[in-house]
Symmetry: C2
Subunit: 409 residues, 2 copies
Amino acid sequence: MDVDAANRAAVERMLAARPRLVGVARADQVLPDFGGRMLLHAGPPIEWPRMSGPLRGALIGAALYEGWASDPEGAGELLASGGVRFDACHHHGAAGPMAGVVAPSFAVWVVEESTFGGRCFSTLNEGSGKVLRFGAYAPEVLERLRWLNETLAPLLGAALAATGGFDLRAAIAEMLHRGDEGHCSSLAGSLMLLRHLAPAIARAAAPSETRGRALEVLGGNWLAILNPIMAACKAICDAGHGVAGSTLVTRLARNGTDFGIRVSGAGERWFTGPAQVPVGVFYEGFDQSQANPDIGDSVITECAGIGAFAMAAAPAIARLVGGTPASAVQATLDMYRITVAEHPDFTIPGLGFRGTPTGIDARRVVELDLPPHVNTGIAHEEPGIGQIGFGLVRPPMQPFREALAALAG
Amino acid sequence: MDVDAANRAAVERMLAARPRLVGVARADQVLPDFGGRMLLHAGPPIEWPRMSGPLRGALIGAALYEGWASDPEGAGELLASGGVRFDACHHHGAAGPMAGVVAPSFAVWVVEESTFGGRCFSTLNEGSGKVLRFGAYAPEVLERLRWLNETLAPLLGAALAATGGFDLRAAIAEMLHRGDEGHCSSLAGSLMLLRHLAPAIARAAAPSETRGRALEVLGGNWLAILNPIMAACKAICDAGHGVAGSTLVTRLARNGTDFGIRVSGAGERWFTGPAQVPVGVFYEGFDQSQANPDIGDSVITECAGIGAFAMAAAPAIARLVGGTPASAVQATLDMYRITVAEHPDFTIPGLGFRGTPTGIDARRVVELDLPPHVNTGIAHEEPGIGQIGFGLVRPPMQPFREALAALAG
């Protein structure tokens, strides 16, 4: 099979994937090979000495959350000394936003892909600002996370059980018609998820105040659906993986130090290069000089053909990441040049319902010297602070070149 | 003051209006001069012999609902014989979608306009298909309406009281960035209203099943926010009314037989012409030949500069009313030719955040022979059936010409 045919086969599998949000569970009860004194993180594997500030901060927070240390200094020493095992989320079926840290007792969304089978997972989105996934670990951050994992999560799980699940493919299709690109802008999708879950939560036997707060937290987070979408996009990309000879990119991920990719025909190998610093729009009191290099598994959305690839569908939020309505359209048009298909169901009204550019061909990236566009949140480079803005970033070219070289034998 | 200055003064008042959704009440307790054996309807005043099928159907339904008759035939006879007084919604502070019928015991949303003062009202939206506002009156239609008025309405009112109200100006601004034009397409806005009200409804002491159904009905109706928006747009247009010498159109409304307008400088006089038949996209089993002439007060949204005037913000739903993304953009561009201002807060991302065309100048309509674009739902021409589609319609030119003649003295 030639490369074009292999890529066609791989992308057809991506386009046929049907991810569905079916439940909520404790991470160590559903993630494969996960448990004990182990923490997962975003991006390719990395050890403590090379980790950036926000990833260290999130790991410190997770160690405190799990009770493995009683203060941040102790947690840092434990983590630096090898007392906790680290691994990449992607090695355990998960995709984690920003630092992407998953601890054994965290709650995770469960996404099932029904065309080829398989499950993917992601934590609950904590909202914006000072949150664990951006490296914050203050007591109020952990307290909020505990409420999400222990009080909200069971309500969400029961609501999904009562409704038979939530079709994420349909939700993504609808979001793109409602001003979302499905990554940094997910308001419409989050409200659709709220609409789906709210009746069952309102019916729940939980205390009145818990029901109310659950809907306030869910409705107040315009990224609530981002984590389920990341798991869905991972499922979509996983479906396209493993086709012999294919140069299709089936994973993009960054850990705050390295940007890593995986290619359909090159097995489980990561190809990595240095993560770039996003150029962004910053919250008041912060600026570009404090931005950490690119971090998080959320770029799996771009890998699946949404996010920055669908930016033309979200002109209203172009300013959020530092663009304009015109640059939003251009970002999508650029991405048609490096992709092999247009999605039949994820369409962009403003482009005459043209399908989103799907299936990145590493060959085209290298030939055109055109890396993927990526929308992203921006973390402060120091641990303990959190999110300081949103921005745009381009991955390094090196991993794409190395992947082609490896495929060429 | 010359006409241009008068129009500027009038539109400045429209742009400064700040409508807010503050409560829910029984119609005969809040609408001015309303009660007893009286029913309100959309559009300019009309008596029974000239009414179209869906308006008659809705009035029959309302008479049955109020217990003034025990069957449709008896209700028809009562209404035909002068046993019930009719008047226009607009004469009592209300704006009603489609037939727009308001009965004394119906629940209404209460909208307060805070810049100039004043209150406007609208009934609760019943959802799509076989509903009273499109002329249906079967027992299940009335039963559903009773649940809305007697069970849902108090929950909504309590939720608004608990939250201090809902800013409709802000909601419209956000909707236009989320694929809504605020008239036939109001999904994003309806979900924002759901998000606002859901926590308080989930906290309510009502039975579990009532809480759940309330959120299902609210979340399941993508036009839930249309009626509050109509009251808000009426408040906006009312703010621009009464400026001496102004040719600004401050009301557009149709009753299924006549299309009526009011002009800022011409007092309370209605100028009317024959309502046109919308050209539409029909539900399965229905077609153009069954379409009733244009009906409803919802065209107050176009009068306030949204709806078809903001169609460029809603390319995804162009097909719903029979257009394309390109024709959606053109509809908005056309309307800049007949309006005197661009709204500072209601903006269209796809047009580089240009403000919506606001403040129809009757002079320009006549000079350019360019009537306003209107998006609309379409009712079956016979009573008792309901909605059969969505479409586009242009008002007759005659009322605009007559208004100018009247202003010229």
